[in-house]
């Protein structure tokens, strides 16, 4: 590992000021330290933001919640307010990683974790995300767990976070402190598709620090939710496909629905086509299947991950049926 300077930030403004070229913010370190060991990341300075006074979980005036970015995954998953108002988020958090990792990992860092594409993590291999212009061996190589939606010639990686999938369904807002002050970024909208510049996972700029995640006030939809994750073993594995779903049905008709998919794209994939097909439709297996098909019509599976298309379809249908 390349030598680096270490600095503990006292507040957000101090952290942003300290984060010059070659610096990285350190949260729990569960992804960054791993990438430093692999040689994928080689920062000259770490600015530790894990102990900033940004770990509180508080009610907002409108009945929503503001979660400090330095709160750990465990703290958020076990928080009574989160469990009461947005159980989908708690469920998604507990589906990710292991307890040991969740105790260290911050929710801010969770949003910014990098893909687990094996080529990205192996510095002896080409990878457009890690080294622009070197190529994407995953397209023709090992890609059984990579993207089926929204990928590009340059990159077929997936975003690994479960939490981000729940946040995309919940429509959270991320608070950012940057070099030009504070602003907010919506989720979905934080993460970006790879296009011809897969080096950028998100719309954030250099020096931007996530300080909080804000959740809206709960609605009828937010109490009927499921996070369903399919993986290669029962626990402690990244999603092949995951579905965060919320459903509000009245008199057998879908009044509101939210569906976000994980494990299928470079972003937590909000299934807007499926949602559009379902609003006002009868809450039946046939409607759910038609909506899932509408969403997956745009899928472009690779040689070895076409199984994800029927898998996603079936998980969407089963998850919505569970919520009826």
């Amino acid at each position: 590992m390349r030598p680096f300077a270490y600095e503990r930030a006292q507040d957000a403004a101090g952290a942003v000021a300290a984060a010059g070229d070659g610096a990285r913010y350190l949260g729990g370190g569960t992804n960054l330290v791993d990438l430093m060991k692999l040689g994928v990341e080689a920062p000259s300075r770490l600015v530790d933001v894990a102990r900033l006074p940004h770990a509180a979980i508080e009610e907002t005036p409108g009945g929503g919640l503001r979660i400090g970015a330095a709160a750990t995954m465990t703290e958020v998953a076990n928080d009574p307010l989160v469990r009461e108002r947005h159980p989908l988020l708690a469920e998604a958090l507990l589906a990710g990683a292991s307890r040991q990792l969740r105790n260290l990992a911050t929710v801010g860092g969770n949003l910014l974790q990098r893909t687990r594409c094996s080529y990205f993590q192996d510095v002896t291999k080409p990878c457009n995300k890690r080294a622009a212009g070197t190529g994407c061996p995953a397209r023709e190589g090992e890609h059984h767990n990579l993207a089926i939606l929204g990928h590009s010639d340059a990159c077929v990686a997936t975003h690994p976070s479960d939490m981000a999938v729940a946040l995309a369904a919940i429509e959270a807002t991320v608070h950012v402190h940057g070099r030009d002050g504070e602003r907010t970024v919506p989720v979905p909208g934080l993460h970006r598709l790879p296009g011809d510049d897969p080096s950028r996972d998100t719309v954030l700029e250099s020096g931007d620090l996530i300080t909080a995640i804000e959740l809206p006030a709960p609605g009828p939809w937010s109490q009927r939710t499921v996070y369903r994750k399919v993986r290669e073993r029962a626990s402690f594995s990244f999603a092949l496909v995951s579905v965060a779903a919320a459903l509000d049905v009245e008199d057998g008709v879908v009044r509101d629905v939210r569906i976000a998919l994980g494990g299928v794209a470079h972003v937590p994939w909000r299934a807007q086509r499926a949602e559009g097909a379902l609003r006002g439709a009868p809450a039946t297996e046939e409607s759910f299947a038609a909506a899932a098909d509408a969403e997956l019509e745009g899928a472009e599976p690779l040689r070895d991950n076409a199984y994800k298309v029927p898998l996603a379809r079936n998980v969407i249908v089963r998850t919505l049926l569970e919520l009826c």
Partner: protein, 156 residues
Amino acid sequence: MDAEITLRVNGAEHRLAVDTRTTLLDLLRERLGLTGAKKGCDHGQCGSCTVLLDGRRANACLALAVAHDGADLVTVEGLADGDELHPLQAAFIERDAFQCGYCTPGQLCAGVALLEEAEAEGVELTADEIRERMSGNICRCGAYPNIVAAIADVAS
């Protein structure tokens, strides 16, 4: 680049100058001679480095020592009370919950934390619940059934 840190490990205070690149795992094993916590994958995937960090289980391989200045650590060496084994250590022997033993220190620390978490969270520790909560600890010998049984023994 070096930094001065203070750590409390199994009740003893240590003041150390550490390279900023040092993980808690390397510090425990190489500087303090506490080789109970094991280096398995060194990437947070196997759990054999699990220790209690400020009372919560954590992968010591991914925790930079400099970022945990002032922390209170308990390793497998600190679980017993003198010659008296921790109840979970005794249960592991009773249930033959290991074969080669390499993952056992991590399993024990994770299991001890799990028992405390379940009590704090009011969770009933069914076999499924134990398996899910122990999923961060891999055992390549496949001693899982007996590990689950040992934890269940102490839980009940």
